[in-house]
Subunit: 344 residues, 4 copies
């Protein structure tokens, strides 16, 4: 069975595991206040052009999302989020459990626009009964989006401008950041992220680590006492250096960027194969490819490969997702590409 | 200035005020555990055919909504609500502040359907990743709806059946219950409410009281320790008998039903006047009438009457709301009807 | 039965009821944005020497407490409160339901000291693991306290200084403010409150109103968007002018101060009677008197008067509470004083 | 530097790391629904005599505590906890952030008693104003306690009986469970835990794992939909099998019990050494030893060993904590024992 069902079905890149093994007998201070985390943060900051950024390491995506939002908002403030956003669709109401309403926007190809956000900001500012509605205060977007698309630098810049106009924070969920930065035709860098977002994550779990998300905070107002929020929300790892070791291994020498770029290249090979076979594809320049298959075609592939149903399409067809990852091999791609070409 | 802007712009029906004045020198036990509240609850229960119903009196609508929902749901459970629902649109995220997600449905003429609700129930039950989404557990609807329409007995019965199928609670926000029960062509009674809903409110604030909402709980699972939820959420009035006195005055001899029916009749007179003048009206068989006026027509009326803009309509027109209430007089109606007939 | 069991067992001072009756037919804008509330706020501000204070009117004490605390604190911040504090002991965990920990201090005669508060502030500031504990950010005290005592101006000034040193807010629960200001031997005025506290309430429910608490906010950081917190927590009365009318009636011509002073004088008469009879009294210069009675003495009084058991005392005796209020008459006092003198 | 400062300053037992390395290239289903987690749960259940127990694996202690408590309580219910309890003293108000009050009890040697708990249960049941206070519904204790002591089987049985009488849940925080089960003179087994507690954790982080806590739920009412709570609170590890692998490695062949027993034996050697030197020790039959040292003695040891200050003692002395762990070697113990003997 060759697994394309997601990008988190295997352990870690060997360099990460080696780092863990190598330091297993060493002693460290607890709770993420250790030299390894500091070094990892420094490695990340080299890519940011933002020496004052705060970098925190947390274990998981839902955890970092709910913690960051809890830290940013006062109780009557809400989050703007695409309907497809992970915090809205797949985190069991974690944001609401933390007390905050989510205002949803209908995305186009996974993205929401500056104009849509501005409308909500304007609605609030001009409302005669402002105290009866929540204040939209934080914009949550994913990079890449849930469907694998990315925002252009222009789009992000426009969203930033709207956030400035209405006093909103911009928070970018980068659970697949590495793949987003390597997007075919993409023009956004980590430096841009640090310049445009108030907070963003750099995902480890799906990009070569056993687990872990780095949260970068650039907005001065969001930095103080952030560790209190991590602890309160159960996100402070006792052996915090385990996160530092992994991110240090990934960011030293740019491994993170390399393995994600290779995964995207492999996804593009698959995309070309599906396209050559004449199969309808959703737009995606990153490691997730959404393709429409007939029942027969699914049957032809599912004995040998794993992949995920996404949604039903007319004519009894199904849109399914194939993911590459840092762990995908050239052989796996070659095999699948050949089988795609041979599809009924 | 004659006020049609809303149904809560004056004090109370004289009978209510008299009851307060008459008992002002008497002493009562505090916190709603007093003979007056008991008597008021009994008066209400006469209309319910449900002797085991629990009746609580709270001061306001947002308060009773958030308290009832807090009492009914566990943290991972969510509320189904029309997009236009008061808890979603006008309560500053009170439900989310209490920790619960709201799943919205697009209403038709203010109403959501059993089929729409069933779809959300089915989605949850069949989800392979159920723990990543919230469980829709309580259906919130308003009777009448925000736009003045009402559910038919058939529609409510169907919704009840869906709630039974998926183990959901049905909660009916009756802030304007009196007007809903008197709806022209409506076929729902308080007895039906008690039979079909797990909880519902009987609004006092907009129906003759100074303030106060009666909450009727019929579902056995929702009754225990409900007073603890009232207190925790700040809704327990120290001089609770003030609520009992008002509801007793309103329900003794059916005053509540009478004054609301008269208000609806007056609204129907206005509706007929708008209609005769050829002005577009939204459907509404209750005390709120939404009519589309030109800028010129608005100018013609706004010097003498108050009414509320609802939303812009094409051609520079505006849909506005006229409300009658228990306090509206025949003279006021006659004056407005005449002025409608004379509109440019 | 003559009632001394509490100070909220009757309706309202006649002046309050008249104000409600007089304006019952008038129309007002909703939600507390009306000329009456404005006028009432102005009447209150005349006593504050603080023209920029924000004044909000809410219905009840638990409600105003939880709303004010929700508005003041971020999630990792906690409240300092005497063990006997109302928010800790009698509000069903409303503050914790809102997400905040309460750190308790052992009071002396109902009061906590600046030194005790400073210790908690110092503990936090010097903690090497600050992120593992909550930040004490708001000091909650009652004036008068739960046992009827009051803070002196010196004590309040010292607490203010500690709050300044550690960046804490001072919030004074004045559910019985009127009685506290009239305390025998007390030296604190409303002007002092406005100068020393960041927020404080002026209780109406127990001091002549049907219901209602005025919240005065002097700290600039706590003023913005406060109405959003009121609405979100279910504390915004639709017919908000009902609160304004009551406080206007009470503060115009100083009625509030007069009726509370008279109640305290009557309590002092009772105190003298108990004392003359040789019965042990807890210290209290306000309207609540706590006296230790034997079982026999309780029996002698309870047929004619209501009063509340507070706690058991050795020797089978009971400490009980007698409350006077704005509604207590001279005859009632004379009767009880005579019966005290005749106690077995 | 030889580290006795805590029991989580190193990586994992070699068997754990090997398990991770061995399966690094394998693919697994995500979110803890995988054969490894199932196998690990089965290994744990072999020690429980409770085949219907639910076993969940979470990353950290604060996380598992707040999740378990969120799942067990309704909003007006509270937790009974010793003042020294971790959830009260060291988790940044996580329980309160989740909405629940903590009622504290003064412990004796770290333990609270059945009688103390019964008093709170009785207070609630007999309260005439029950709705004004929270219902104590869950008892939280640690095994071993924060100061290294353990409950006897008798004590736990008594607490269970009180919980049954008042309808309370018993939740045991077993972050150091392995050391507690190996307590010198202790008589409690995992079987007892499963029989007496409604939920308890088996700590991995401090007992040989890189990270991870197993939560065992025996109470039927607490099992349904528990995974929804894990996800909502950010505690569901994407690569959940990493937790299963670790617990499988620890419980297969009883490694967990062996390494913890050895750590406790080493602690007893230290204890004997301190005792022989005549130094005052707090009672502790487990891996944490609290000893009172003079400033001079601390200076003599702190160049070579790490240990933690706990609290100041009179005479300028300090009570400090020495921890052994699964990673402590015989040589380290021998060295420290010799240096203790040679203390000034």
């Amino acid at each position: 069975m060759i697994r394309f069902n997601n990008d988190y079905n295997r352990g870690a890149h060997p360099a990460v595991l080696e780092a863990l093994a190598r330091s297993n007998a060493d002693s460290f201070p607890g709770y993420g206040v250790d030299p390894v985390c500091e070094r990892a943060a420094d490695e990340i900051k080299k890519h940011l052009d933002c020496p004052d950024a705060a970098v925190h390491f947390l274990v998981g995506g839902t955890q970092v999302n709910l913690t960051a939002i809890a830290a940013a908002l006062r109780p009557y403030q809400s989050v703007i989020c695409p309907v497809s956003g992970h915090i809205h669709a797949h985190e069991t109401g974690g944001v609401e459990h933390g007390g905050h309403k989510i205002l949803t926007l209908e995305p186009t190809e996974g993205r929401i626009s500056a104009a849509q956000i501005a409308r909500l900001g304007e609605d609030y500012e001009t409302s005669p009964i402002r105290e009866h509605i929540t204040q939209p205060k934080l914009v949550y977007i994913s990079f890449p989006t849930e469907t694998g698309t990315v925002y252009s630098l222009r789009e992000l810049t426009d969203i930033r401008a709207v956030c400035d106009r209405y006093g909103m924070y911009l928070f970018v969920d980068g659970a697949r950041m590495g793949y987003g930065l390597a997007a075919q035709g993409g023009d956004v860098t980590l430096r841009d992220m640090a310049r445009l977002a108030d907070m963003f994550t750099i995902g480890g779990t799906k990009c070569g680590a056993l687990f872990g998300e780095a949260l970068v905070i650039t907005a001065p107002a969001l930095k103080p006492d952030f560790r209190s929020f991590i602890k309160q929300n159960g996100g402070m790892l006792a052996k915090g250096w385990l996160l530092g070791l992994q991110f240090d291994a990934l960011f030293k020498d740019g491994l993170y960027f390399d393995i994600c770029r290779q995964a995207v290249e492999k996804a593009m090979t698959l995309r070309a194969a599906f396209s050559a076979r004449g199969l309808p594809l959703q737009p995606s320049p990153t490691n997730q490819q959404f393709v429409v298959l007939t029942h027969e075609q699914i049957e032809a592939l599912e004995g040998k490969y794993t992949f995920e149903p996404d949604h039903a399409v007319d004519g009894g067809r199904m849109c399914v997702r194939f993911c590459t990852s840092w762990a995908t091999t050239d052989q796996e791609i070659a095999a699948l590409a050949a089988d795609i070409a041979a599809l009924p």
